[in-house]
Amino acid sequence: MSRKVALYGLLCLLCVPFVFPTWWMVTSSMKPISEIFSESLLPSEWTFSTYSQVFRMQPFGQQYWNSLYIAVIVTAGTMVVAAMAGYAFARIRFPGQNVLFVVVLTGLLIPSEVTIVPLFQLFQSLGLTNTHWPLIIVPIFGAPCVLAIFIMRQFFVALPPELEEAARMDGLGRAGIFYRVALPLARPALGAVAIFTFLHSWNLYLEPIVYLSTPDMFTLPQALTQFVDIYGGPMWNVQLAAATMTAVPILVVFVLAQRQFIEGLAHTGVKG
């Protein structure tokens, strides 16, 4: 009994640094700026004007849409590319397979900051800077996709071959086996890939700073740092209101679907 109490106490204590920042972000976004550094857990007077200020100071709705649609396209594209490549590397035997797999895997070793200069030049020469193309194409086909390919491959390697053999007997071709048999079974791995990819795209910071230059093209992480007064000083409570709007929807989705979420992610690690 006392062991249980001690455990609960320890867990509650450990929770503080995980929960408090989010709590503080939400409540402080409704405090007047003079109260940001006060010790109080709740605002003395609730103000929501910071929220309307967010939209007055920047095209925040547009920026929200930018981040959202980019993340959705990147997630969908990555799932397709990674599932196909992961499946082929795991289940199909073709000459040069291992060499090609190693070639693709090098992407895991290369932080995106390393290649950003040549990539910037590439997109500049194509006239695609200050568009969203670099933020969509590079993650789907480039280095960020490699982890997804790896996860999918690990999943397909562990899949029992009997199912596919049965489908082959029934006269299904390779593409048919992939689409009708393997892919439906891969839902947990695909779920994990979707979560990883969405978060990665949603959080991208360096790439938008490098590629995008006008506020209506900005993505959310970039926009968050731009709430400054006319003297260039940061407007903290407005920043926090914007931060709250970027964080809370995702947190709500997570709490609603946390079981699928966490178990989907855990699934990828066990077989690693």
Binding site: C15, F18, P21, E113, V114, T115, P221, L251, F254
Partner: protein, 295 residues
């Protein structure tokens, strides 16, 4: 016999399936990497509009660059602190949540939640909380500790960026460990108990070896990830005070995008790539030594 045997069609499908990823790797990873290698042999100042072949000069500069040395020291501290704190905290949380206890799902959700808060939002919040008169010092004051000016004091700034990063991401490793712990067969523990093994011995002799593949995976991901931490540093400390939190990737950003030395920036990129590749290879080799294989 037709030309399109099952074998040949299978090969074709294989190539078609890997083609998008392969072409992407070529265009967005390998060719840019080769270009970075080429740039590193040139003096390239974007503002001055100069691009001139200088051979190994940039590499010689690497060796004598005092700031780079400081940056490597900062990088080592950051990576080491991050990995040790992240993995031990993740394992501790996973073990706590693996107890038979009501409400562990709630705690699991709470510990995991920072993973989903957007990175810049999370960092901005901590930036404010870490101000001298901010909430962190307010909370520390409650227990009688007089906190420093976290982001403007050298050693404290390093501790702060590590802790902020660990709390943000430790949930991921925690979940992986939790899944691994749940895969350890319970009879093993019971047998060990009968043999008189204490809790610590059981943890060290059964749990750790059986979850070693997960420890390897998470340590690779965490170390390589620690070398890519950019936004947090950019928002929290801008590499300061002095160069105390100028990790390699931030130094690279400074050289290339603030001082516009693309050539030297490329040289630092090559160094970063070599370090990441070497670390990954090393860990992969160590796998044979200390990861327990079931077969």
């Amino acid at each position: 016999m037709t030309f399109w045997t099952y074998r040949r069609r299978d090969n074709l499908v294989g190539y078609l399936f890997v083609a998008p990823a392969l072409l992407g790797s070529l265009a967005f990873v390998l060719i840019p990497l080769a270009l970075v290698g080429w740039y590193s042999l040139n003096e390239w100042n974007v503002l001055g509009g100069t691009f001139e072949f200088i051979g190994a000069e940039n590499y010689e500069r690497l060796l004598s660059d005092e700031k780079l040395r400081e940056s490597l020291v900062a990088t080592t501290w950051f990576a080491a602190g991050l990995v040790v704190l992240n993995l031990s905290l993740a394992l501790l949380l996973a073990v706590l949540l693996n107890q038979k206890l009501r409400g562990t799902t709630v705690f699991r959700t709470l510990f995991f939640s920072p993973v989903l808060v957007s990175l810049v939002a999370w960092t901005l919040v901590w930036q404010l909380m870490l101000q001298p008169e901010g909430s962190v010092n307010g909370l520390l004051g409650v227990v009688g500790v007089d906190g420093p000016n976290w982001l403007r004091t050298e050693s404290a700034a390093m501790v702060a960026v590590i802790v902020v990063q660990v709390i943000k991401n430790v949930g991921l490793n925690m979940v992986l460990f939790l899944a691994a712990l749940q895969g350890v067969p319970a009879p093993l523990y019971e047998a060990a108990k009968i043999d008189g093994a204490g809790a610590w011995t059981r943890f060290r002799r059964i749990t750790i070896p059986l979850i070693s593949p997960t420890i390897l995976l998470t340590s690779i991901i965490t170390i390589v990830g620690s070398l890519q931490v950019f936004a947090q540093i950019a928002v929290l400390t801008q590499g300061g005070p002095g160069t105390s939190t100028t990790v390699l990737i931030y130094y690279l950003y400074q050289q290339a995008f603030q001082f516009h030395h693309f050539g030297y920036g490329a040289t630092i990129s090559v160094l970063l790539f070599v370090i990441v590749a070497a670390l990954t290879l090393l860990q992969w080799r160590m796998r044979r030594k200390w990861v327990l294989h079931e077969s």
